[in-house]
């Protein structure tokens, strides 16, 4: 296996994403519902999706360029959704706590 900088970065990203997956799953039991609980399920789903996507990154050089562009675009879209959901969640929590 060729351990260049790209592969190392990919491995690092996969590790971080799996740590994130561990965090969302371990916190899930503490948030059975409510404003956070509802969003948490969606965030968990996105983290699972990203974990699968990140695991596939070492094989990106084996897929056709057209498919690769589509996959990268999908990652960007879901990444943007993830950020929006997280920021809105923080916004709602702060608003609720400062009411």
């Amino acid at each position: 296996m060729n351990l260049d900088i790209t592969t190392l970065l990919n491995l690092f990203a996969i590790l971080i994403m799996f740590y994130c997956l561990y965090l969302v799953l371990s916190l899930k039991s503490s948030i059975p519902g409510g404003m956070i609980g509802k969003r948490w399920n969606f965030l968990t789903m996105l983290v699972v999706l990203f974990s699968i996507g990140y695991l596939a990154t070492p094989f990106f050089d084996r897929i056709p360029a057209e498919t690769l562009r589509l996959v990268v675009s999908a990652i960007f879209v879901f990444g943007a959704i993830y950020v929006v959901v997280t920021v809105r969640l923080i916004y709602n929590i702060i608003r609720e706590l400062t009411e």
């Binding site: 503490s30 948030i31 059975p32 519902g33 409510g34 404003m35 956070i36 609980g37 706590l97």
Partner: protein, 156 residues
């Protein structure tokens, strides 16, 4: 030692101190039993109303053995004022309300209520905090119901 069903127990100074310390000297079940001891209600009635305390009689015997409660014959050790006893009863009712509305998810709410100071203002503040906690992490729908019914219990 068998406790009479109509026996009324009081918290001793040691019992009050343990409640305020929030330490781990006693179990959660013992703490709950200690909270419902109010110097007015008999053991049988306590066992009936405080259903969230497991095996009330045995637990009260444990508290008696630990010197955290005493019976009326040694009432000189009574620390609580009537206001404090009323506040304790309100806490018990709030805990029961949380259990009724939230089921198994009520544990954190009950803990917050139990740890509140024995004043109406403190209880009202805790109630508002609990409402936020419920809305954020348990159920958006139940949050307002809990607050409204809790305020009624406080006479507001």
């Amino acid at each position: 030692m068998t406790l009479r069903a109509d026996l009324v127990l009081f918290r001793t100074q040691k019992g009050e101190d343990i409640l305020l310390s929030h330490g781990r000297e006693i179990s959660t079940n013992q703490r709950r039993a200690l909270l419902v001891v109010n110097g007015k209600t008999g053991i049988a009635e306590l066992a009936k109303t405080a259903f969230w305390v497991t095996d009330m009689t045995v637990t009260l015997q444990e508290l008696l053995a630990l010197g955290l409660v005493s019976d009326s014959s040694s009432a000189s050790d009574i620390p609580g004022s009537p206001a404090s006893a009323a506040s304790q009863m309100t806490k018990v009712r709030l805990a029961a309300l949380a259990r009724e509305l939230l089921g198994d998810s009520a544990e954190r709410i009950i803990k917050k209520v139990e740890e509140a100071e024995d004043t109406p203002e403190a209880l009202e503040q805790v109630l508002a905090g609990c409402k936020k906690l419920i809305k954020l992490t348990i159920s958006e729908e139940m949050a307002d119901t809990f607050l409204q019914r809790g305020l009624k219990l406080l006479g507001k």
